[in-house]
């Protein structure tokens, strides 16, 4: 480690001294957790961003300026995220920042970006109900993941839906929207499992079953699911997060449930998460994202091979080179950089207001997951894919929904 550290510290000094003279460069912030609990997910996004910058620089940069990344570590520490955002905007005066994974980190930096008139690209599926003038959400909105998945399951003849998730804002909000969506599609309330909690006036304020982070005991919940699924036309909509998927799927298999009788569609398990999960136990289960590594297209093949080639010769300290995959948050980060580049070139300026105006005007980019187009509401129009898990941790694509318009405010829209 020390041997690795000394050259990297020297490289840091070399970099800082070189950057003083770089007149024709533009500073770009990278704000992800490189340490702490979120590092396992977020480091991949740092890697893909650095790869994208190198790719753009090799092709001449943005408006003739080379991208000069400023990488900061939010360390899975939310106040530190806010501090780092201030630093990027105040000290480094970055033109744009790519970053954040969790909603809480985004909520922590949002006031900073609004106050200092910065620009943040946010790449990870989230609950919506937000549209900051200073954030562009390349992320999947709920209607680009949850509702298409339900459409698919209905086509497959499923009539009963069990909602389960980790107890935080994304699952809670997604399930409330799904409840409205299912009711609007004529699914009766008794066919929606997981339970409801109501306020004093009898209005449903929470739908589905919730377990805390790191929960391990799913015995009771799975036996409830087994009863619910006895009719054979049920499925499970899961927003369970990270590690909790392991005990959940173990218990699910032990209870004799399988993808044939009662499939699980998970919204928080991508190829990258499979690196830490026993993929073989999840074979046949469903996923829904706006990108899968298994997409067969020249753009995707080029993206994967370039990324792997970049990884192989990368000298970023501590970077993992073996067994790397690509997943939706990574591709949405990649798309974000190219959309920003196109917007800057369209606006003819690095100024945040002009770049945002260009983005709102609609900019298209042919990314690895197909064409994405920026919209007035700071979200993207993109393709949505339903995939089935294979033993190698990849997805077999079952269905594609073309050009789904991202919509942040969905509550109360399905009637």
């Amino acid at each position: 480690m020390i041997k690795q550290f000394i050259p990297s510290a020297l490289a840091a000094f070399a970099l800082t001294s070189a950057s003083v003279h770089a007149e024709d460069s533009v500073k770009v912030g990278v704000l992800h957790s490189l340490s702490g609990t979120m590092a396992i997910s977020e480091t991949s996004l740092r890697d893909v961003l650095l790869f994208t910058f190198d790719e753009i620089n090799a092709a001449g940069g943005v408006m003739g300026k080379k991208i000069e990344p400023v990488v900061v570590d939010g360390a899975s520490n939310w106040p530190l995220f806010a501090e780092k955002a201030k630093q990027l905007l105040d000290q480094d005066k970055v033109a744009v920042t790519f970053g954040c994974w969790t909603s809480v980190s985004r909520k922590s930096v949002l006031p900073v970006f609004e106050e200092k008139k910065g620009l943040l690209f946010y790449p990870v599926q989230y609950e919506g109900e937000e549209m900051s003038p200073n954030i562009f959400y390349t992320a999947e909105a709920v209607n680009q993941q949850a509702t298409p998945a339900v459409d698919y399951l209905m086509e497959e003849g499923k009539k009963k839906f069990y909602l389960i998730g980790s107890d935080y804002v994304y699952p809670q909000t997604t399930n409330l929207i799904l409840l409205e969506y299912l009711l609007s599609k004529g699914v009766p309330l008794e066919n929606i499992g997981g339970g409801f909690s109501k306020d004093a006036s009898g209005k449903i304020i929470s739908a589905g079953k919730y377990t805390p982070f790191g929960h391990t005991d799913y015995q009771q919940i799975v036996s409830e699911i087994k009863q619910f699924a006895a009719s054979g036309d049920a499925c499970i909509i899961s927003t369970l997060n990270g590690d909790t998927n392991v005990p959940f799927f173990k218990e699910y298999a032990a209870a004799g449930l399988d993808a044939e009788s009662c499939p699980v569609v998970s919204f928080s398990v991508s190829e990258d998460e499979f690196r830490g999960l026993p993929a073989s136990q999840l074979v046949g289960q469903l996923g829904c994202w706006t990108y899968f590594q298994s997409i067969k297209s020249p753009a995707n093949e080029k993206f994967i091979s370039n990324f792997q080639a970049w990884l192989a010769k990368s000298d970023v300290p501590g970077i993992v080179k073996e067994g790397r995959v690509t997943c939706s948050p990574m591709v949405l980060s990649y798309n974000g950089v190219y959309l920003w580049k196109a917007a800057v070139e369209k606006a003819g300026s690095f100024e945040v207001e002009k770049v945002m105006a260009a983005l709102k005007g609609g900019i298209s980019f042919d990314g690895p997951g197909g064409t994405v187009t920026s919209q007035k509401n700071h979200h993207l129009t993109k393709n949505v894919f339903i995939g089935e898990t294979k033993a190698d941790g990849q997805f077999k694509i079952l269905k594609e929904f073309k050009n789904v318009v991202g919509e942040p405010f969905l509550k109360g829209t399905y009637k």
Binding site: D73, Q91, K107
Partner: protein, 374 residues
């Protein structure tokens, strides 16, 4: 038992100079544009952590109670301030943390938090009462040492799990963010930020002064006697449980006030602040700075957090936890009295070397008595 003089060993002129620099000079330089708003904001945060470190020192360094739950009191103070700040946002309807969970009205327990004096009172009462009840039960049952540490850690963990739950209506995992105004001043104004910094620096100076006074009073003597041999104090007729309870409540309130000032400066409060690792990290600051010295923990908190801010950027970003760990190991191995003990340690070393040297040259010279003092 003579009362120790209040000056003398307290290095008062130096402390006064430091206080003036923190409270007056730094904000002045900021208003002149010499110190950037970003740096000032970071210092405001470091000083909050410094106050938290003092509250740990009061318990650990002076009373021998290693509390691994000070982050809980810090966060509770932060939540009380957060509740007030959320009430001050205004606008139509309720903030997103309530509408997310389907609420269209404020829960009744939020309503009195519109009043700042009430919020201020709660910053003292809520952590104070919790510390009182917990401390009463723990100290009455003669729970001490590692058992006390484990219990405080369990309490913090339980509280964090509770606050993560959305049903508590305290914002769940996301907590409170996007604050707008405090006492009618916009939190986005540079002047408001400067005043918040000044308030933090003032509180720090007051807490340092108050704790110096307390630990050098008769109370402080009993406090240290409890640390060194509780049974002897008990058999001398002192109700040690009451003394410990008093100091536990005081340090909870100090931590809470630090948390309350922390929140408007960093702009977020959520349950991860009461993570057990946060309490442990704060204990590390105290150990690094030098426990049982009041000023040492502040220096420890500031230097570790400044290092964290500096090192979590660029090529060193991957390595800063390693640096922190390395610094901790070095201090534990070579600087048993922490950073504030270093000058005395060096002085002692120089004296030893020169004494050996002069002893070799002229065996009659006397060693200086001051330099051998710890």
């Amino acid at each position: 038992m003579t009362k120790q003089p209040f000056t003398g060993r307290l290095h008062t002129p130096l402390l006064i100079a430091l206080a003036v620099i923190l409270v007056v000079v730094i904000p002045l330089l900021n208003s002149l544009g010499i110190i950037s708003n970003f740096t000032l904001g970071n210092w405001g945060k470091y000083l909050c952590y410094g106050i938290l470190a003092i509250s740990i020192d009061l318990l650990w360094g002076y009373t021998g109670l290693l509390c691994l739950g000070q982050a809980l009191f810090f966060t509770l103070g932060g939540y009380m301030m957060g509740m007030h700040l959320m009430r001050m946002i205004g606008g139509d309807g309720v903030p997103t943390f309530l509408s997310m969970v389907g609420r269209t009205e404020w829960p009744s327990f939020f309503l009195p938090f519109s009043s700042f004096p009430f919020a201020l009172l709660m910053m003292v009462v809520v952590p104070g009462m919790l510390a009182y009840v917990f401390g009463y039960l723990a100290f009455r049952s003669r729970i001490k040492g590692v058992y006390f540490s484990i219990l405080t850690q369990a309490l913090t963990y339980g509280a964090a799990l509770l606050f993560f739950r959305n049903e508590l209506l305290m914002g769940g995992n996301n907590g409170f963010t996007d604050f707008r105004t405090l006492l009618g001043f916009s939190l986005r104004e540079d002047s408001t930020k400067r005043w918040l910094y000044i308030a933090t620096a003032l509180l720090l100076v007051l807490v340092v002064w108050g704790c110096k006074w307390l630990t050098h009073s008769r109370f402080g003597l009993i406090q240290r006697a409890i640390r060194d041999s509780e049974n002897r104090v008990l058999f001398s007729g002192y109700a040690t449980a009451n003394f410990k309870l008093f100091i536990f409540v005081i340090s909870a309130v100090i931590a809470s006030l630090a948390g309350a000032l922390f929140v408007p400066q960093v702009g977020i409060i959520n349950p991860s602040e009461m993570d057990t690792s946060k309490s442990l990290e704060a204990v590390v600051w105290v150990a690094l700075g030098g426990r049982g010295t009041i000023v040492g923990p502040v220096i420890g908190a500031i230097s570790v957090n400044a290092l964290k801010s500096w090192a979590s950027v660029g090529a060193t970003a991957d390595f800063w936890p390693l640096m922190l760990g390395g610094a901790f190991v070095l201090v534990v191995l070579f600087m048993p009295k922490g950073m504030v003990g270093l000058p005395a340690q060096i002085q002692g070393y120089i004296t030893r070397v020169s004494r050996n040297k002069s002893a070799a040259e002229s065996p009659s010279s006397e060693p200086t008595p001051e330099a051998t003092k710890p």
